[in-house]
């Protein structure tokens, strides 16, 4: 299962905050797809995944797929 999170137009840290709130709502193994066009998201979403030990499956143009692992 996947939950989409449209953060286009939002500036950091808002996309990361929304991701942090959304990820616990999906089951372990499921994914959240974040759409974010703030340039800071390109660094901050991967950094959040590293700090929180969650899986960043892909980071394409403005589209980030994160799998909950814990």
């Amino acid at each position: 299962m996947n939950v989409d999170l449209d953060c286009r137009g939002l500036l950091c840290p808002l996309p990361v905050i929304k991701l942090a709130k959304a990820l616990p709502t999906v089951a372990i193994g499921d994914t959240v797809t974040v759409l974010a066009d703030d340039p800071a998201a390109a660094t901050d979403i991967p950094a959040w995944c590293r700090m929180r030990s969650q899986d960043l499956l892909s980071a394409d143009e403005n589209r980030y797929v994160i799998r909950r692992v814990s």
């Binding site: 990361v16 800071a40 660094t43 950094a47």
Partner: protein, 350 residues
């Protein structure tokens, strides 16, 4: 110092009248002091109108002199924006690790590629404090000139060796704005690509600011006389800040090399915190800090240094200690910061 220099050093140092000769004497004295501090001969040191102007002129002139070999400018991804702007489309970027340091093997490989005019590597990073391995980089550069932007470290750290060109900025050691240093080792070919006049061998056109140059030299002498004690204190205080910030606040990323670094600079990022709100709250408590967060920049882009390191860019705070900073201020900062971060996080439900 500055005021008396305005009275006695106002004249044009290239003129032969009495006032001109006095101005020339003051300029020569200032140049001798500044050259000694960066480890070059006075005739290897050129004075510019800022550290940025020194980078623009120095890097451009060295690159142009090597045009028969090539035009590429190899540089680390965390150089000052003045280096990145000068390199422009000719830039070949070498990435850094998570503490902000280049991999020498990768750097060397990029420098040895065909068509490289010059290699640029900062002495230490101006945002995160991490030192770069300048002496080792100079060895891997071989015949390719090494350009070192030392603005962050002159006055705060030992001057590296092995470079062909080095730049610095007086305001970074407590001197006035508007004085930059451009040191060019004998034997390094330079070719200015702009209209040249008789000043500073054509590297910095226009009437020189002798009073401010004297003030810059006096400030550097003062800073170096205090350096042993100041740098020891600053190094220890940044150590303490690193530990107390990390221990006192959950989800904070303290970045940069904890040991091999400048003594006086620290950067950290707080998860879920708006950088602008953090800087404003700290300002209200009497702390003037900088930030690499996108929301604090006019371009709304995060610091290219933090992005290159792959570390968190929002909620970012950059601290620089000065000669008047006291331990009490360090202690008070560590005391008030956790509450500020907690309040900003609570406002967004985190």
């Amino acid at each position: 110092m500055l005021l008396s220099a305005v009275d006695s050093g106002w004249a044009d140092p290239v003129r032969l009248h009495h006032e001109g000769r006095t101005a020339r004497l003051l300029l020569d004295n200032a140049r001798a002091v500044l050259a000694d501090a960066v480890g070059v001969r006075p005739d290897e040191l050129f004075l510019t109108t800022s550290g940025t102007a020194a980078i623009h002129a120095g890097l451009t002139a060295v690159t142009a002199a090597r045009r028969r070999v090539g035009t590429a400018v190899v540089h680390s991804a965390v150089e000052h924006s003045a280096v990145l702007h000068t390199a422009g489309d000719a830039g070949v970027e070498v990435g850094v690790d998570m503490v902000g340091r280049v991999d020498l093997d990768v750097f060397g490989e990029a420098v040895r590629a065909p068509g490289v005019a010059v290699a640029a590597l900062q002495s230490a990073n101006h945002e995160v404090g991490t030192r770069q391995p300048i002496e080792a980089a100079a060895e891997v550069c071989g015949d390719v000139p090494l350009f070192v932007d030392a603005a962050a470290s002159i006055g705060h750290d030992a001057v590296p060796t092995g470079w062909s060109v080095l730049t610095a900025s007086a305001h970074k050691w407590g001197g006035p704005a508007g004085v930059g240093l451009l040191a060019v080792r004998k034997g390094t070919r330079i070719a200015p690509t702009w209209p040249m006049d008789e000043r500073e061998d054509g590297l910095s056109p226009g009437f020189p600011d002798i009073p401010n140059t004297l003030a810059a030299a006096a400030a550097l002498q003062t800073r170096l006389a205090e350096a042993a004690e100041l740098n020891k204190n600053h190094h220890a205080w940044i150590d303490e800040l690193r530990q107390r910030v990390a221990a006192g606040i959950p989800d904070v990323e303290v970045v940069g090399d904890p040991e091999d670094r400048l003594p006086h600079v620290l950067t950290f990022s707080c998860l879920y915190v708006d950088g602008e709100a953090l800087v404003t709250a700290l300002d209200a408590k009497g702390f003037s800090v900088s930030s690499g967060s996108a929301c604090t920049s006019s371009t709304l882009r995060p610091s290219h240094v933090l992005a290159a390191m792959g570390v968190l860019t929002h909620g970012n705070v950059r601290i620089s200690l000065g000669r008047t900073t006291t331990y009490d201020e360090i202690d008070r900062f560590c005391t008030v910061l956790p509450g500020i971060v907690r309040r900003i996080r609570a406002e967004v439900g985190m």
